[in-house]
């Protein structure tokens, strides 16, 4: 009979599952998260895997991880350091111990700590025995051995039996968090419906893990994370890349313009290409091009032809697309360029995240080639900003760059499911057949957008291209004053978008000692850090920007009400220098990090406190 365990109630918990690339940690983490979401927790997840598909087994290079932050309050990030670490082998422990809080609970598969694996991981002595883990709450379980024993009566080969150890450990976690097994049992049943022996093995392993955790003495208490107060509605979990793809599909449906994606696979943006490929039933045409340049050029062709055109990429791909982006600017065609940023320069660190493509997005083209630049700031709001990028692009007849990042793209959050009919309307300025007044560069007086005249439409034959054109008539021209006029119009057109985007919001009081400024994917970390500062009584607020070019109209007003401004970003200071150039009347402090890692909340609060103490 198991002893009655204590219950520890926590507001939020960070859990990290780590193991070898082939250990199924991504699936384990996802199932754990889905069950938590069903129990009413708010949550954010982040997978952390190597760039190599299957790096050598049992080495630090081959470690794959999945982190989830769940809470009975609103969760903004996938968490800094973890409270619970599940490590399936010595290498994964070695690689991740630094991400565990002091005193964290660590569950290890003791049976994987054989001498050769310990050595391969780079340990001199067995960490389970040398006292180096004394400051943690260790739960050492011979998981592989126990799984095999549990499956003694299941007709299944040894290799398959071994693979179910992730279900065993998931079962242990379900006991630890007092979760219901039904959802996962049901998942297993559906996933392996044609292989009854595999269903049985996985289900048996899951239950065995749960029962083992209940009896083992090392687990003295269970963890309770209650339901978070959430807006009523229907929810789902979604990653940033999927949300981006769906936001684009929604914009296509709402605008009545068929979606065309021209793209070339590149980490961490490939998932958007794969996802859109699956939705031909919504009319999406997806062209996997021969290279990045063909990706954007085919999209420009499709846009000329009347499609809602998109190209998706990451930093190196954006570099290759530069010339064509200028073509979209001068032809004044709608085009959404999604850049899922990663750590650069060059190939850099493909699976690690950074915000270092902002300058490239703003300025990386020949000539005066301004573009709308928007940044999503969480996995779920990629849906909204992808939608807005498409809307602004079509309504203003100019290309838009949407910046997300690898962290956001791979990370997931809960999305309150919107209704497409309730999203803002999209009205592309289509030219009417036989319009006697049609001219390629005749413009709307308010937006300066030209009309979109789609090939096939009667009476609208016209030519556009990369050579400078006369305003209105659209004939090739090298007239000096016309060129200056067109340069100014193209810029003005982009700047006028400020009349169509929301004002900048501030989290916290709209005046105070310190305004923290961020943009894009750092939102969760900055919100958490500023929230903590506010709770502690500091006069600190946060302005997190999604609209970068143009900036919201009230930006200067927001800045003027704070004694000091600090701009925090995951680069060497690109947004801060853009602000220095755009709004030079303010003094900006900056905090930067370029490690391919997100900010940590504690690191941010330390910076802010130090700043406030300086006076």
């Amino acid at each position: 009979m198991a002893k009655q365990k204590n219950i520890v109630e926590l507001e939020d918990v960070v859990v990290k599952f780590v193991g070898d690339s082939g250990d199924g940690m991504q699936l384990t983490g996802t199932l754990f998260s889905d069950t938590a979401a069903l129990a009413g927790n708010d949550l954010a997840t982040f997978p952390d895997f190597p760039a190599e598909i299957r790096a050598p087994q049992n080495t630090v290079a081959g470690v794959s991880g999945f982190q989830v932050h769940l809470g009975q309050r609103k969760i903004f990030t996938s968490g800094d350091l973890c409270d619970v670490l599940v490590a399936m082998n010595p290498a994964s422990l070695k690689a991740n111990l630094k991400w565990a809080k002091p005193g964290a609970t660590i569950i290890v598969d003791e049976s994987a700590f054989e001498e050769k694996f310990i050595e391969k991981a780079g340990y001199k002595t067995n960490p389970l025995e040398d006292g180096s883990l004394n400051n943690y709450h260790m739960i050492k379980a011979p998981i592989s051995v126990l799984t095999k024993e549990a499956l003694a009566n299941v007709e299944i080969d040894k290799k398959m039996a071994e693979k179910t150890k992730n279900m065993f450990v998931l079962g242990m976690m379900y006991f630890l968090f007092q979760r219901n097994l039904d959802k996962t049992l049901d998942f297993i049943l559906k996933k392996f419906q044609n292989k009854p022996e595999v269903v049985q093995a996985n289900q048996v392993a899951l239950k065995a893990g749960y029962n083992y955790a209940e009896t083992v003495e090392a687990i003295v208490s269970t963890i309770k994370v209650g339901a978070a107060p959430m807006q009523k509605g229907r929810y789902r979990s979604i990653t940033g890349n999927i949300a981006t793809a769906w936001g684009l599909l929604a914009a296509s449906e709402r605008s009545g313009r068929p979606l065309f994606l021209g793209s070339y696979p590149i980490t961490p943006a490939t998932e958007i290409l794969m996802e859109l490929s699956r939705h031909k039933s919504l009319g999406a045409k997806v062209f996997q091009a021969e290279d990045e340049i063909a990706g954007i050029c085919s999209a420009i062709g499709a846009s000329f032809s009347g499609s809602m055109a998109v190209t998706t990429t990451s930093g190196p791909g954006l570099s290759l697309k530069s010339e064509a982006m200028g073509l979209a600017v001068i032809t004044e065609l709608p085009l959404v360029i999604v850049n899922v940023q990663r750590a650069g320069p060059s190939t850099g660190m493909p699976t690690k995240s950074e915000q270092s493509d902002l300058f490239q997005a703003l300025f990386g083209r020949n000539g005066e080639a301004p573009m709308i630049v928007i940044a999503a700031s969480s996995p779920a709001n990629c849906f909204h900003y992808a939608y807005m990028a498409a809307k602004l692009s079509m309504e203003h007849m100019t290309p838009v760059i949407l910046l997300t990042d690898g962290h956001m793209g791979f990370g997931s959050e809960l999305l309150k499911i919107p209704k497409v009919a309730e999203m803002p309307a999209i009205n592309p300025p289509l030219a009417k057949p036989r319009d006697p007044d049609f001219k390629p560069y005749r413009r709307d007086a308010e937006t300066l957008a030209r009309k979109w005249a789609i090939p096939g439409t009667e009476g609208l034959r016209h030519r556009i291209g990369g050579l400078e054109k006369t305003n209105i008539d659209g004939n090739v021209s090298t007239d000096p004053l016309n060129h200056e006029l067109m340069v100014n119009i193209r810029e003005d057109k982009v700047m006028r978008v400020a009349n169509y985007i929301p004002e900048q919001e501030v989290m916290g009081d709209d005046s105070g000692d310190l305004l923290v400024v961020g943009w894009g994917g750092t939102e969760g970390m900055l919100k958490s850090a500023v929230g903590q500062m506010q709770k502690a009584g500091h006069k600190v607020s946060l302005a997190q920007f999604n609209y970068i070019m143009p900036l919201p109209k009230n930006t200067a007003e927001v800045f003027s009400r704070f004694k000091r401004i600090i701009v925090c970003e995951l680069n060497k200071g690109q947004f801060v220098n853009y602000l220095r150039m755009t709004l030079p009347e303010f003094k900006y402090l900056q905090h930067n990090k370029v490690q391919g890692l997100p900010f940590h909340v504690t690191e941010l609060t330390q910076v802010f406190i130090k700043l406030l103490e300086e006076k």
Binding site: L282, G301, T331
Partner: protein
């Protein structure tokens, strides 16, 4: 066959329907003028509505073409015409899409897009103005400049093996390849009509004279004095004969083609190869495409026109199938698919 998915004009159009109001700024004597004339001849004959033609180009002298024809037109960037045209055709299959490009635009800076549009067999017609030189940048060698030619960037002669356009196109699994000299507008018009009828990517190589930077580059083949002896004008189903009095012919012997004089050494008309442009096997087509002087005539006309499904048709087919078979019929369906829950 002409494309049934492209709407036909209810009235017979004429050359004037496609005349542009823009001044044609090619040099006097440039081969481009003849190509323009042939296109203006053939578009009314093809018979699609005048709004259903789109011309795409890259950069170079050839690529000013869209400005000179009154259709929907797009003047792109260097080398990318094929990529832009791919997007135009896939997005809007109701358009008859034409690309105007040069030897540098298509086979140097745009080589990748050129081979891939051909491989995919997207229904686009490519007019390849091959003048064997870079004209707009004033006289540097191109990927088709003959080995050893002195140009502004090869003062001692080029040291590069040139591309043979036909070889590249067929190497990329091209389904249609034709070649015409720029001084035979009648043949060019016929060939362009054949290209329009072809389902898939058609490449028409036009041996174009650049009067300023590479004058008479093709004169051995195209000049009035030499053309009868040095051009084999292919016609489907007819023997491959040439010469002023059709006294020469092509035979297949062993694994190669040979140019022979009929009546000499026992050769009769029966020995002469008959052209089959529709043969799916590109073997003979490749050999015809590579023929060059002094031992051979240069093959003109439609060398290859093989049937294969087109990429753009398959796109429509897959979308149709998905629409009829998927549970996801709108984005709301998608948002509510899979795991969702009420709070």
């Amino acid at each position: 066959m002409l494309d049934k998915s492209i709407e036909k004009s209810p009235v017979q159009l004429t050359k004037e329907d496609f005349a542009s109001d823009q001044m044609v700024k090619w040099c006097p004597g440039c081969g481009g003028h003849a190509i323009l004339a042939a296109v203006e001849n053939v578009f009314p004959r093809i018979g699609y509505k005048k709004e259903n033609f789109t011309i795409i180009s890259g950069i170079g002298c050839s690529s000013r073409f869209p400005y000179y024809v009154n259709t929907y037109g797009f003047h792109g960037i260097h080398g990318r015409a094929s990529a832009i045209a791919s997007g135009v055709k896939i997005a809007n299959p109701g358009q008859s899409v034409w690309v105007a490009t040069g030897d540098g635009d298509s086979m140097a800076i745009g080589g990748n897009h050129f081979i891939h549009i051909i491989r995919r067999n997207i229904d686009v017609n490519i007019l390849l103005f091959n003048n064997q030189i870079y004209g707009l940048t004033k006289g540097q060698f191109s990927p088709t400049t003959p080995m050893g030619q002195v140009t502004k960037t090869s003062p001692q002669g080029t040291i590069e093996h040139p591309f043979i356009t036909a070889g590249l196109v067929m190497g990329a699994q091209g389904t249609f390849f034709a070649r015409v000299p720029d001084n035979n507008v009648k043949l060019m018009t016929e060939v362009l009509y054949e290209a329009a009828k072809h389902d898939g990517t058609s490449v028409v190589e036009i041996l174009e004279n650049c009067i300023i930077f590479n004058d008479k580059a093709h004169a051995d083949v195209t000049s009035r004095a030499k053309r009868d002896e040095n051009q084999l004008i292919l016609k489907h189903g007819e023997p491959m004969v040439y010469g002023k009095d059709n006294e020469w012919g092509i035979i297949l012997k062993g694994t190669g083609l040979y140019a022979v004089k009929i009546g000499v050494g026992g050769i009769t008309e029966k020995d002469i190869l008959v052209h089959d442009q529709f043969n799916p096997d590109p073997g003979i087509h490749r050999m015809l495409g590579r023929m060059t002087g002094p031992d051979y005539p240069v093959a003109m006309g439609v060398i290859r026109s093989a049937r294969a499904f087109t990429y753009d048709d398959k796109v429509e087919e897959q979308i149709e199938y998905a629409k009829n078979n998927s549970k996801v019929q709108c984005v709301d369906d998608l948002l509510n698919s899979g795991d969702t829950w009420e709070i």
